[in-house]
């Protein structure tokens, strides 16, 4: 049995369900954070450290911070903070998250080698330079087309967001 996979897969799915079922914005954002961290752990498991770093720095780091900022600007925390601290389900969740985090830390101390599935991977698999080579050789057209996608998204977002009559 692949316990490492099961541990973080269950964590990701459970946190995902929590994210979409909870009615409060802030716990929902925390659930999303848990999903991102669990996915990063799974990427490490698949011997893709660069993707794991991207996952943590871009999703957990940049996008989630933006989400939390928006939530911070929209809600008034004074009256809600008290009830949230006393909520028993949030406390349980916090405990589970804490356990997961300590598991992750223990694994980190033991060393990454033990968590990687080894199935005759090619030499240098998961190395950043190899990903760069693939990007600019085999997948160069995908790379370019993705930039067109971003351009279209930019035009669409600017048009829809700007005020009338400009």
């Amino acid at each position: 049995m692949d316990y490492y996979f099961l541990l973080f897969a269950i964590m990701a799915v459970g946190a995902g369900i929590f994210t979409i079922t909870v009615r409060d914005a802030l716990p929902s954002a925390l659930g999303l954070l848990t999903v991102f961290i669990a996915l990063a752990a799974l990427y490490l498991h698949l011997n893709a450290p660069l993707i794991a770093i991207f996952q943590v720095s871009i999703y957990a780091g940049a996008i989630l911070v933006l989400v939390v900022f928006v939530i911070m600007l929209l809600i008034t925390p004074d009256e809600e903070l008290e009830s949230r601290q006393k909520n028993i389900s949030y406390r349980t969740l916090g405990a589970i998250l804490g356990v997961y985090l300590s598991v992750l830390l223990v694994i980190g101390i033991k060393g990454i080698d033990q968590i990687i599935v080894q199935k005759g991977l090619p030499d240098g698999f998961g190395h950043p330079s190899l990903i760069g080579t693939l990007f600019f050789k085999k997948y160069i057209l995908h790379f370019e087309m993705a930039s067109v996608l971003l351009l279209v998204a930019l035009i669409a977002a600017i048009y829809l967001a700007k005020k009338k009559n400009i």
């Binding site: 160069i140 995908h142 067109v148 996608l149 279209v152 035009i155």
Partner: protein
């Protein structure tokens, strides 16, 4: 260290993806030109940008018809292919974009929406659609699908004052993302099993016996669900009526034709090349093993059979009870997707030829109908109900005639393109032995005739009860309407020429490698 040397043949890139390149570069240039024209008033600016867009579409059309149609080295880097099948569908989509651009000039002026972004998004929507149909790589299909979809989402939300437009676009965005997620999950499963995203490599990889494994079938089903969303087949049609009703009329016409054509094209490509035995027809010994993929047919054929039947029945039945003409045409487009999927189900040369012919004919009649709808509407949502069409046939004889012609064509009566198109797909289905489905399909098209002809009945046999004044008619719209009307009649009387071209095009499907 691996050094990066790009073995990039720019001439070959231009040959294979010239159409996309023209559109992408033109979109960038138009953004700059739009800025340069800032000191002009909105009317002149819209006129300049509009005619430039029309010119760009004509140039792309020329490139595709005269250059891309007969090149020999058709696959570029294993990502894009310019086989005749893809080029034919691309031509349909560029043509649809061309007609939409012509009509948009009048539409945007009537609604005081003269914005450069509209044309830029239209150009990128067509560029994405061409990329989608030309790609032979599932990952590229996803990226280009998103390019096309994002541009169309924004176009659907283009009337910012209208809550209907916003609501429809948001629904389209959410459900469209859902469909794309299905597609992406399917691609991930297939990639995990075969180690490749190229559709011919996938065909080779799974023909060895992998086609019986459950994960592959799940991935296959998920990819198809993603396409069915875009094709608006029942039960994946929930977004269609709201989006088609809320979006600007010309955009609705464009969506119902170009986006549908792209989805049908790419679905046929993936279904037959990756999961069907068509590559074995190419005569190459390497691909002889793909014959075994015909074992997949018992899995997808019953699904398409039921989807075709449900689309035809639900589309036509619900359209009968609609009072808004755009909503009625939305349900009718679901029904048309059902008719077209008969050609997919037949899985023979005639069926594919029928689908290609149908897509071209449907482009002509549908964009034409929406052109008339927008002129009668004046400003969006002033006269869209069926009651508003009472007596219009005598008040505006030309518009009444055109609307009648397009609706008769959609109902599938001779001598119009709609009749011939329906004939080809039903013929293909009957040839493969789907008698029951063909009979039921013809029955549903009788239901369809009722609501199409009801509009004509309203226009010519009822007294006007509400004063409806049509909007001003712009010269480019007249050009577009004349082209579509002549096309509908020409294809109805002399369909052989296009049918032969479509037949050559569908044969190009077996040489993608």
């Amino acid at each position: 260290m691996n050094e990066i040397n790009l073995s990039f043949d720019f001439y070959h890139l231009w040959e294979v993806c010239g159409g996309q390149l023209i559109l992408i570069v033109a979109g960038l240039l138009l953004m700059i030109i739009d800025m340069l024209l800032l000191d002009k008033d909105a009317e002149t600016r819209g006129k300049y940008i509009g005619w430039l867009t029309v010119f760009i579409f004509v140039a792309t059309l020329g490139h595709m018809v005269y250059r891309q149609w007969d090149i020999h080295d058709i696959v570029f880097m294993g990502v894009f292919s310019a086989d005749k099948f893809s080029v034919f569908i691309s031509i349909v989509m560029v043509f649809s974009g061309f007609l939409a651009a012509l009509m948009s000039m009048g539409y945007l002026r009537n609604n005081a929406l003269m914005k450069g972004e509209y044309y830029i998004l239209l150009i990128y929507a067509v560029a994405g659609a061409i990329g989608l149909v030309q790609s032979v790589d599932l990952l590229m299909m996803f990226i280009t699908l998103e390019v096309m979809s994002l541009a169309v989402y924004a176009l659907a939300a283009f009337i910012k004052e209208s809550p209907f437009s916003q609501e429809g676009a948001l629904k389209y965005f959410l459900l469209g993302s859902f469909g794309s997620a299905f597609f992406l999950f399917g691609v991930a499963l297939i990639y995990g099993l075969t180690g490749s995203v190229n559709i011919t490599s996938i065909a080779l990889a799974i023909s060895g016996g992998l086609y019986q494994s459950l994960p592959l079938l799940v991935g296959f089903a998920m990819i198809l669900v993603g396409f069915f969303f875009k094709m608006a087949m029942v039960p994946f049609h929930m977004w269609t009526p709201d989006v088609y009703e809320g979006a600007p009329s010309v955009v609705t016409g464009f969506m119902a034709t170009a986006v549908k054509a792209a989805a049908f094209g790419v679905c046929i490509k993936v279904l037959y090349v990756s999961f069907g035995p068509i590559l074995a027809n190419s005569g190459q010994p390497d691909f002889a093993s793909t014959v075994s993929l015909s074992a997949l047919a018992p899995y997808w054929k019953p699904v398409v059979w039921w989807l075709a039947l449900l689309s035809m029945f639900f589309g036509n039945l619900i359209a009968v009870s609609q009072t808004n003409i755009k909503r009625m045409l939305a349900y009718s487009s679901i029904a048309h997707a059902g008719y077209m999927s008969l050609g997919i189900l037949a899985a023979n040369g005639d069926g594919r030829m029928g689908v290609l012919f149908y897509l071209f004919a449907y482009t002509l009649m549908n964009i034409g109908a929406f052109g008339v709808v927008y002129i009668i509407d004046g400003k969006e949502r002033t006269a869209q109900n069926l009651e508003d069409y009472r007596g219009l046939g005598y008040k505006y004889p030309a518009l009444g005639f055109l609307m009648g012609l397009f609706l008769v064509a959609m109902a599938g009566l001779p001598p119009t393109a709609g009749f011939v198109a329906k004939f080809y797909v039903f013929y293909a289905a009957i040839k493969e032995g789907y008698f029951l489905l063909a009979a039921l399909g013809i029955l549903t098209s009788v239901i369809g005739a009722y609501y199409y002809l009801r509009v004509i009945y309203m226009m010519y046999m009822k007294e006007e009860i509400k004063e409806v004044v049509r909007g001003p008619v712009a010269a480019p719209t007249v050009i577009a309407l004349v082209i579509t009307a002549l096309g509908v009649l020409y294809l109805g009387i002399l369909p052989e020429k296009l049918a032969n071209i479509a037949n050559v095009a569908q044969q190009g499907l077996s040489v993608i490698f």
